[in-house]
Amino acid sequence: MRLGGFRLARRDRASRKLAVVAPIAALLLSIALNLALYVAMGRNPVAVFHAMLIEPVTSWSSFSEVLLKMTPLLLIAQGLAIGFRAKVINIGAEGQFILGAIFASAIPVWFPQVTGAWVWPSMIALGGIGGMLWAIVPAIWRVRLNASEILVTLMMSLIAAQLLNFLLVGPWKDPMGFNFPQSVIFPLDATLPLLFPGTRVNVALAIALIWSVVCWFHIQRSFQGYQLIVGGLAPQAAGYAGYSQSRAIWMSLLIGGLAAGLAGAAEVAGPVGQLQRSIASGYGYSAIIVAYLGGLHPVGIVFSSLLIAILYIGGDNAMVSAGLPIAAVRVFQGSLLVCYLAAITLVRFRLIREPGGLRA
């Protein structure tokens, strides 16, 4: 790849030291760039910095919201990363998330008076099934028809959003809801138990952490995880070794769909407490960023989901406390990713000046 008078060359061996320094440098660089922006906007950069990056981790009420926001990102990103490592690119987690939310909502929508300790676990299980069912379609298309799972999963997300709209303006609309496109408010037993009283953090966080451990075992300790990675790194070698490619595609998509479905169920049964259109708020897409930021590694993803959640909550805080417009918040979140990707590129590649490149 050529950039002006320079060329990117892959390093023979990625520097370990750089791999640690680069993300930190990226973070510092984007903070510096944005603080300059806030000064130019006439805002107090210290107040913004405090609201955005310090307060979310020092105030318990803000940090509990970080944990709440992190939960769906962590669940989905761990599932997606398994597929990404096998080079099965499922970018339709948003749709699988919506289906999970819809399946979980079926219980309280059809039985609004339901009670019992079995209700929320069944909703979570149904959500996982819903997400998997939605991922079956792209799996069949890919395995049988060789259609790109990237396109099919993305298009399935658009269909899922329309299905949600249809249910909410039609059969699943709250009959007492003044015609607003939202379902009934779920009864208490159809909502997730809280982990810490006084916050909105619920058992879904525990599920996400257990899920992360399962994913770690899957990639580090299981033969199947090894097969998936080999299939991603060297498809032909995997073929010679007799690892089935279609099995890898099925596994990747089903696990990704399951995780996204669980997250969707946890969202409606957790902080939302009813099925409404705002549940489709982009967790499925953000989780792709989380997965890559975390280096597609289960441990890295725990940290990257925490970081992205802090940025979300911090951004909202900065809006409320430091009077930052929402657009400036988005600029910060975007510039952080750009700096990170640039830094990661420099870890794996180095810039070489082309002979005569300066004249070109």
Partner: protein, 366 residues
């Protein structure tokens, strides 16, 4: 309505508990500190529309109170868990006066009010009330009745249309009043409605407006749309158009029929005063021409002079209460009687309206 209240009874119970605790809002406020007022809305403030009108109403109040008030404006906050968190954060930051600018914030805003008895909350378009929680709404139907009279007078096809956000009672009643006003001038008008199920979706609004125009509608009512999309599409197509909240005349300089503007300043000012002197009391605030909240303006010069005279007279009668928009006989879409001859609908029926008057050709989603 009754069953709704039963189903949401848990909130009433908690509201009663707050009352029982006898906590007076506003009293414990530290002296000398400015009052923090937070406004949260679901769409961008922009130059026009619902959110713009809410934000603009705070400007004269800022001018009057100066340093004694500090306003935080939060735009584009989706109704859901994020809004709940942001409202809690605003209150934790010391804001003692919260204006929740959308129906969808109801559950979250009520929780904030319940947990913070020293905070006063104004909530748009809702139905829940607590000692420190006042739902507010504008009697848009008074203004749309007048617009209906003008629309029927300028229409050549006798077909009118409306691009509407959600089929909630507030919007249904303003469409019905529009139809009744039009029928007062031309009893044969037909009105079609397209529900776009969004407050803010320029592409969908344009599409809906074009669909109505292609059906022969030549006056369009942009109902609770927070963008000027419908207005500019109508100007291009040469059809008259009007909207609510704030004037969009600059987007349709020749075909702008008028605006049912809302001026929240008197209401906000009164509520903030009440909060400061400790007399804030939750109640249903249903505000119209009489309170100066509904302000019809920017009437088009194409409206015939005789009809304009009638409109001005009717406006005066609505303001002084000698005329009521929903006075019988009114028939429903299916022909059944909705309001008997000589009777008039009470506020409780208007705020729960879930039926269309005869003359609306499209069915109401249910």
């Amino acid at each position: 309505m009754t069953s709704t209240l039963n189903r949401r009874g848990f909130l009433q119970t908690t509201a009663a508990a707050t009352l029982g605790a006898g906590l007076l809002p506003g009293i414990a406020r530290a002296q000398g500190e400015p009052l923090g007022v937070a406004l949260i809305v679901p769409s961008p403030f922009g130059d026009v529309g619902w959110s713009h009108a809410l934000a603009a109403a705070l400007e004269p109040i800022k001018a009057e109170y100066g340093d004694r008030i500090k306003v935080t404006k939060l735009e584009n906050i989706p109704e859901g868990p994020d809004a709940d968190r942001i409202m809690n954060k605003a209150v934790a930051d010391g804001n003692k006066f919260l204006i929740a600018g959308s129906f969808g914030y109801q559950n979250g805003a009520m929780q904030v009010a319940r947990r913070n008895p020293d905070v006063s909350v104004l909530h748009a378009s809702g139905f829940m009330v607590a000692p420190n929680f006042t739902p507010f709404a504008a009697r848009n139907y008074q203004g749309t009745y007048l617009m209906g009279m003008a629309a029927a007078a300028v229409s050549k096809t006798g077909k009118l249309g409306s691009v509407s956000a959600f089929a909630i009672p507030e919007l249904v009643s303003s469409i019905n009043a529009f139809v009744l006003g039009a029928q007062a001038v031309n009893p044969d008008v037909e009105v079609s409605v397209v529900w776009v199920n969004s407050w803010f979706d320029p592409a969908k609004e344009q599409e809906a407006a074009r669909a109505l125009l292609s059906q022969g509608c030549d006056v369009i009512y942009s109902n609770a749309q927070d963008t000027p999309s419908v207005v500019s599409v109508c100007e291009e197509a040469g059809a008259y158009v009007f909207n609510l909240n704030s004037s969009m005349v600059k987007y349709a300089p020749t075909k702008y029929l008028g605006c049912v503007a809302t001026d929240w300043t008197p209401f906000f000012l009164q509520s903030i005063k009440a909060h400061l002197d400790g007399s804030f009391e939750g109640h249903t605030a249903y505000l119209g021409l009489a309170e100066g909240v509904i302000k019809p303006m920017d009437w088009n010069a194409d409206i015939p002079a005789d009809v304009m005279t009638r409109i001005t007279e009717t406006q005066a009668q609505l303001a002084d209460g000698s005329f009521h928009v929903f006075t019988g006989p009114i028939a429903r879409q299916d022909g059944r009687e909705a309001v008997a001859e000589g009777a008039a609908l009470g506020d409780e029926d208007i705020v729960a309206m879930d039926w269309h008057v005869a003359g609306v050709t499209t069915p109401l989603p249910n």
